[in-house]
């Protein structure tokens, strides 16, 4: 209910252009830049950008669902209830994961179809699994974003900046090996890097058993960011109560 109430992008007038059409064009943009730069295959960019675009619903929705309460002047009412915080916030995250998965899967299928990407029939189910884990992982980062959103006024700016950082660092468009060493180190500890790599390997015919390590790392990253984000939200709640700044918008 909170998801439908607070995430205004579910209207088809926003959902279709922003979450279905835009990722396909992001894919095409980088496919063509890739062809121009003569760097990687089309498949490389389809997978990278489809998975990475899950960041848009995951980051923006988590901010809308938690920090958005502040803009609606309802955060105080939520936090004054005796409801346990963990199920309260985790419950809001579940539809975010589902939406992130749907957006990435749609972009992968449509983008892949447009450029003629060939996927082994047996790879679709594992790819769906990795896509879901990647959406989960980014929703963990979305928790951190939502926590920051309780003190940052410009949440849309913050979400867009994190989206841009993920575009650069996750290897969605530039092979990780071609990034400078410090950027490679960062890419290891952020959502999507391992998920994207896992999907690329699955599409290349690598069996699921050989990418469990990547999937597990991606999931672990999501858990760590989710825990950090939850702790941040609770800390911001305490700070907000102490300084009477909960509803400062």
């Amino acid at each position: 209910m909170s998801y439908r109430a607070l995430f205004g992008w579910l209207s088809p007038w926003v959902f279709i252009p922003s979450l279905l059409v835009a990722p396909v064009f992001q894919i095409l943009l980088f496919v063509y830049i890739g062809r121009s730069a003569q760097l990687e295959s089309d498949e490389f960019y389809v997978i990278g950008n489809a998975i990475q675009y899950a960041a848009i619903p995951c980051l923006f929705a988590m901010t809308h669902l938690i920090a958005g309460e502040r803009f609606q002047q309802t955060l105080g009412y939520i936090l004054i209830t005796p409801a346990k915080r963990l199920p309260l916030f985790l419950g809001r995250a579940l539809p975010v994961v589902a939406n992130g998965f749907f957006v990435a899967a749609f972009a992968l299928v449509v983008g892949g179809t447009i450029v003629g990407m060939e996927v082994p029939a047996g790879a679709w189910a594992p790819i769906a699994l990795v896509t879901a884990v990647s959406a989960f992982s980014c929703t963990g980062l979305g928790f951190v974003n939502a926590g920051l959103g309780l003190v940052v006024r410009e949440t849309a700016v913050l979400s867009n900046i994190i989206f841009g950082l993920l575009l650069v660092f996750t290897g969605a468009n530039v092979p990780i090996d071609d990034l400078p060493g410090w950027m490679q180190a960062v890419s290891e500890v952020i959502p999507f890097t391992h998920g994207i790599e896992a999907v690329r390997q699955l599409v290349d015919g690598v069996p699921l058993a050989d990418v469990w390590g990547l999937i597990g790392t991606e999931a672990l990253i999501g858990v760590v960011y989710g825990a950090a984000g939850y702790a941040l939200i609770r800390a911001m709640e305490v700070v907000g109560r102490r300084h009477a700044t909960l509803d400062r918008a």
């Binding site: 252009p17 835009a22 062809r35 121009s36 410009e154 650069v168 468009n173 071609d178």
Partner: protein
């Protein structure tokens, strides 16, 4: 003269408002840098023989369209939220003369993004900006800004009936980046895409800027960009007059 004064004041007022907006200034400057960075890495790592300056100029102009598309799409909806749309429409001045400088100001903010992208390319990737024809370069930039602002004006008018027009404007960000050839030569696209590129002023704007910087005659491109901009304004005024007439007769201007 009064028209020019109205356009100038409208542009200045909108610029002052945009300067106060973190979304339009800070994000407008930073956001294209992510795409530029990815493009620089891709061109650096790839086998493409084109100079990195080619990508740097394209990425720089991407910011102008980036600051315009979403904001212009939302410009009328924003007036609705502010409760000023009816007042502006009822004012004695033509509403088109109020809206046009608004969208041109949005494109003008993109000059920040352009400058920051060129600076980023120079500082981080060592891409030096060498300009073959400085005069043409200096004139190509405002011509591109005005023509992209005019395209924003057409978008704003075309989306007048939509409450969530910002999403439609946002949706057009990538397609125009793609088919205008900011980072990809038009020759790489299927034949049916090229006519679409030709009717987009950003295509000619980036051509003019590239020709001025890398060598080539920028003047025909500047002329086409400005002519297309004028065409967008003409079509936009016709659409706007029809939309306002319909909104007045059906009392739907506020859409709420």
């Amino acid at each position: 003269m009064r028209t020019l004064r109205l356009l100038g004041l409208g542009w200045l007022l909108q610029m002052k408002m945009l300067w106060r907006s973190t979304f339009n200034t800070l994000l407008g400057v930073i956001y294209p840098l992510f795409f530029a960075t990815v493009a620089f890495f891709m061109f650096q790592a790839g086998d493409d023989p084109k100079p990195l300056l080619y990508a740097s100029l394209g990425a720089a102009v991407m910011g102008i369209w980036g600051t315009t598309s979403t904001a212009a799409g939302a410009s009328l909806a924003q007036q609705r939220w502010h409760g000023t749309l009816e007042l502006l429409v009822a004012a004695p001045a033509s509403f088109a003369l109020i809206l046009l400088p608004t969208t041109i100001a949005m494109a003008s903010i993109g000059i920040y993004s352009m400058a920051s992208t060129l600076l980023w390319g120079w500082l981080v990737f060592g891409i030096e900006l060498t300009i073959d024809s400085p005069l043409a370069f200096v004139l190509a930039i405002p011509a591109t800004v005005v023509s992209i602002g005019a395209l924003g004006f057409l978008l704003a008018v075309a989306f007048v009936r939509f409450r969530q027009a910002w999403a439609l404007g946002n949706m057009l960000e990538y397609p125009v980046w793609l088919v205008s050839g900011f980072l990809v030569p038009l020759a790489l696209f299927p034949g049916w895409v090229r006519p679409i590129s030709w009717v987009l002023a950003p295509t000619w704007g980036i051509n003019a800027i590239r020709d001025a910087a890398l060598g080539g005659s920028a003047w025909p491109d500047i002329a086409v960009a400005l002519a297309l901009g004028a065409g967008y304004v003409g079509i936009g005024i016709l659409l706007l007059n029809r939309a306002l007439y319909a909104a007045r007769s059906k009392a739907t201007l506020a859409l709420s």
